[in-house]
Symmetry: C2
Subunit: 587 residues, 2 copies
């Protein structure tokens, strides 16, 4: 039994006259002049099969997506029927035998790229969705992407090491997913949010250059671009400075862009400190494919009579603006911008348009002096028709508002251009909503200065850095703490008392005591990188079998109920209130 | 700040006179003639540092495994002190500066390969254990092994596709590990025992050639070579016959052996049917590095007067023997063999030694006729001193007993030779201890003949096959069922009624309805392959961070108790009896 002698796209005019056997799916079928033309699709592409239903009766049974085997002779297509858009468009197979390997029920949706199908239906029939050309291309690209990453790191002398996924719960900013233990009832493993501590242990273990393409887990409330499980490239090196990390990650990202986009990126990538990124782009993950940079206007308005501006300055705030270019701005559109600014946290927004006659059209124009008006035009390099947006508030709010409006109004809607950059010098700590201090990156990140961290923690800068692509945070890394005394100090600044630190991290603090090398590393999301490189809007389109935003697989209906006996073996039970709620819902 | 200009083994006599900076660990330190000799170890190996403590006082502080940075000049070693067993044995670094990067506490055990350390202690300090040369070599080998596997499959046009690890519970012969869902309280994900159904879905999705190095999970009661989580190479192809699978896996295993052992294996590998393997070696995973094959003796004893033999034959059993070669056999040793046979399930064991004078020494010799005695010698090709072991019982018991004794007495105690083979033609079903019928491989395996499967299921042969290396089952595979009607028939033979099949597998049976290609595949354990190739006795020595046999990580003490609030969010609680037992134990 042979299913095939050739793949579809192996066939071309050099093979004319050869007998061939191909297997694949019926992608299209037309009848013309008593003869059937079947586009047979396999993993490589399409080839046209010509069959006479009078000779081969089974051809009349063929329907869309039937899986078939065809034996026949390769022939040149008759003049005028050559299809130049098809790789095999110069030939066709004249069938001698057609075998139906598997029939197909009528399809729930068409398998071309043009159909817009509800995502839940696509996921319910993911195995059909994956036959669509752009989804098949996404799977292929992802495989090539991880291949290129591995080759690059292999050449750089990295070891791929598998770290455990049934670990002890560690606090990394999101909820752990738990796995009850059967042999130690009442105890739980956690699924890793990242291999962070294990890769640091590998450094202590003398590995020096580690990487892993690792499955990680975060039980966050779903946002559009999050999944319960995701994949990250995780890497770490010993005797490394920040420069070593950045150069290595650049080599990996260059290889990725070359493999998937066939472009050679210029290195080193642009670098911005976190402060610069916030000041110029109002974001710690700026999209630098376009300008509209934020301009400081404080000095221009230091004597202003316009109360909103003077009030902001008096309150220790700042006045900043962006020029969003020449565009139509109806009153309704202007109101829309103000509403959006409020959504982003502003109390209001000043909009100004440079009219045809050079005067400023704005509800606040009358409050601004001539000097202020001309200063605005020159500072924001405004031309006729340009729209200027100005916010006055605390620095954080102004940055957030102008950064958000900048993206709304300027962001390209394709991913054709690739703009990578580094953001460095992140603050060591940040404030939680409840006012408590927490780590910005994770609690194993090294401060730039230990003294500064202790004396003025809220202004302390860490040795952490992010890689950003087209406004998407690809990943982050840092130089780690390798001195157990410093690690204890960081816990202290975070308000973790000694006893708690010992209970939760004692084993790790002990490991640091045995000649830990200085080390640092990085991790970035494969899903997000693949998404941008493939020009997709959703990570779900580059994940073979994703979950919905509520963590459900519509195909298998996971998660599901399980037998009570299984739970009993694990020493757990479902809480009474959950069962009651389920019964009430009539399940 | 530069930690190093060179790795230890970059340095040789061509570098004499160069100033170099190296970083690593103090592997050994001797003092001789007022000068300190420090073996500095990094990931590449060792280099000797010479320092004068009078000039560089810090040298006196150096202890084992301190992490240090040394700057100095490369010099040839004085005549008579060259060390030919060391890659850098012709040179040494004369230190100008030594910096302690991290001190180390005194070690809990010596880091050489000679020390025998209790495994629990090794795992408690795994980060130190990994610094030992053979453990470092195991990590490196494993990375090279998966690299070679990936390169091979990449060249063969396979896509690496990541399948989900939070799935719906499926029955594959072992217990699932469960993950409670927070967004759907009272529901659970399962961790996959293998990517089986998802890889079949990829075939339905048109991928045609898939592989993945996949983390899998089995909550089995621990045996010496099992872990809760393990890694397998998982592959699948469409339009494939058994031959296609075997050729592909052979290519992968050949690449693995070449990479790790630098040997070129002859292909195709030997193939035995399951029946042959059981008959000749008494095992479905025979170690064929040595003979001692099982010989059928039924016809020799068809008229025997020895009751044990005639009784076995009359009861439908069989008489078989092995020649375990010339060896000392005291009465106590012989009794030991009989005891071992009983452990293996025999009621007794006949032992015979060919004495110096050619007569047979055996408690049963007197019951055997001259013809039977000479027949035994000729059938078992016995020479002077040879020990013959004979079992008479049901076929299954005889195979088990002689197969077990054969391994005890013949198995080489190194893994120097690599003997791969295929076992094919496994039975479709087998009997569970309680007499019910279950699948031998998994319920998605195709029978050789559907008619036979329905008419005589207990004798039906499947299209399943195992790869065996030196008596270790590396993995198994099969041609799958691609016809939903056949899949339903298999469920029926397994006693799974239609409603249950629909409830548990309805989504998969539906997927099979959409033009499923014929397909088959394979999976083998990376841990076991790495173990044999590295000549280790335990898979734990090739897993970076394994668990103990009770599923515990002695380093982090996972699994651990978690906060009640975390459990509440997940809608679960620990059962009262578990809490009571814990309190009783005084925890």
């Amino acid at each position: 039994m042979t299913y095939r002698t050739d793949q579809a796209t192996d066939l071309d005019t050099t093979r004319v006259g050869d007998t061939t056997t191909v297997s694949g799916w019926v992608s299209r079928r037309r009848d013309h002049g008593g003869v059937a033309f079947v586009d047979l699709r396999d993993a490589t592409g399409l080839v046209q099969v010509v069959a006479d239903p009078e000779e081969i009766q089974i051809v009349d049974e063929l329907r869309m997506e039937y899986c078939i085997k065809v034996t026949g002779v390769v022939q040149e297509r008759p003049e005028g029927t050559v299809n130049h858009e098809m790789l095999t468009g110069e030939i066709e197979i004249h069938a001698n035998e057609v075998v139906i390997l598997s029939p197909s029920k009528p399809l729930p949706f068409m398998l071309d790229d043009r159909s817009e199908i509800e995502e839940r239906i696509r996921l319910r029939y993911r195995y059909l969705d994956l036959r669509r050309p752009h989804m098949a291309a996404n799977l292929q690209a992802r495989s090539r992407l991880t291949g290129a990453i591995r080759r690059t790191l292999d050449e750089l002398g990295f070891l791929e090491v598998e770290t455990p996924t049934l670990i002890r719960s560690t606090p990394e900013g999101a909820r752990d997913m738990l796995v009850p233990s059967r042999l130690r009832q009442g105890n739980f493993y956690a699924l890793p949010q990242s291999p962070q501590l294990f890769k640091q242990l590998l450094m202590i273990g003398g590995v020096e250059r580690y990487f892993q393409i690792a499955r990680c887990y975060r039980d966050e409330d779903f946002r559009s671009d999050r999944q319960l499980e995701f994949t990250q490239l995780d890497l770490e090196g010993s005797f490394w400075t920040q420069e070593d990390v950045l150069v290595t990650v650049e080599a990996v990202l260059k290889a990725a862009a070359r493999e998937i986009r066939d472009v050679d990126l210029t290195d080193p990538f642009p670098r911005l400190t976190w402060q610069e990124a916030m000041d110029r782009f109002g974001s710690d993950k700026p999209d630098i494919r376009f300008g509209m940079e934020i301009v400081v206007l404080d000095d221009l308005f230091e004597d202003t009579e316009f109360g909103v501006f003077s009030g902001a300055l008096d309150g220790g705030g700042t006045i900043r603006g962006i020029n969003v270019g020449s565009r139509e701005l109806s009153r309704a559109q202007a109101d829309g911008l103000v509403d959006r600014a409020k959504e982003l946290g502003a109390k209001g927004l000043v909009w100004i348009q440079v009219s045809e006659d050079g005067s400023l059209r704005s509800p606040v124009a009358k409050f601004l002096s001539d000097d202020e008006q001309s200063g605005l035009i020159s500072r924001l390099e405004a031309s006729l028709g340009d729209v200027l947006l100005i916010a006055a508030d605390r620095w954080k709010t102004v940055s957030q508002v102008l950064g958000g409006l900048r993206l709304d109004l300027g962001r390209p809607n394709t991913q054709d251009e690739l703009a990578f950059l580094w953001v460095t010098g992140f603050p060591m700590f940040e404030e939680e909503d409840d006012g408590t201090r927490t780590f910005s990156h994770h609690p194993f990140t090294s401060p730039v200065s230990i003294d500064e961290m202790v004396s003025d923690p809220d202004r302390a800068i860490s040795q952490a850095y992010d890689a950003v692509l087209n406004g998407v945070e690809l990943g982050s890394g840092s130089i780690r703490i390798h001195d157990p005394a410093v690690q204890r100090q960081v816990f202290e600044v975070l308000g973790i008392d000694e006893e708690t630190a010992e209970r939760r991290f004692g084993w790790f603090l002990e490991a640091l005591e045995y000649g830990t090398p200085p080390h640092g590393g990085f991790a970035f999301g494969i899903d997000r990188l693949a998404m941008v490189l493939q020009g997709e809007d959703s990570i779900r389109d580059v994940i073979p079998f994703p979950k919905t935003q509520t963590g459900v697989d519509p195909m298998t209906e996971a998660p599901a109920e399980v037998d009570e006996t299984q739970l009993k073996e694990l020493g757990i039970q479902i809480r009474a209130e959950v069962i009651a709620a389920r019964e009430e819902a009539g399940e």
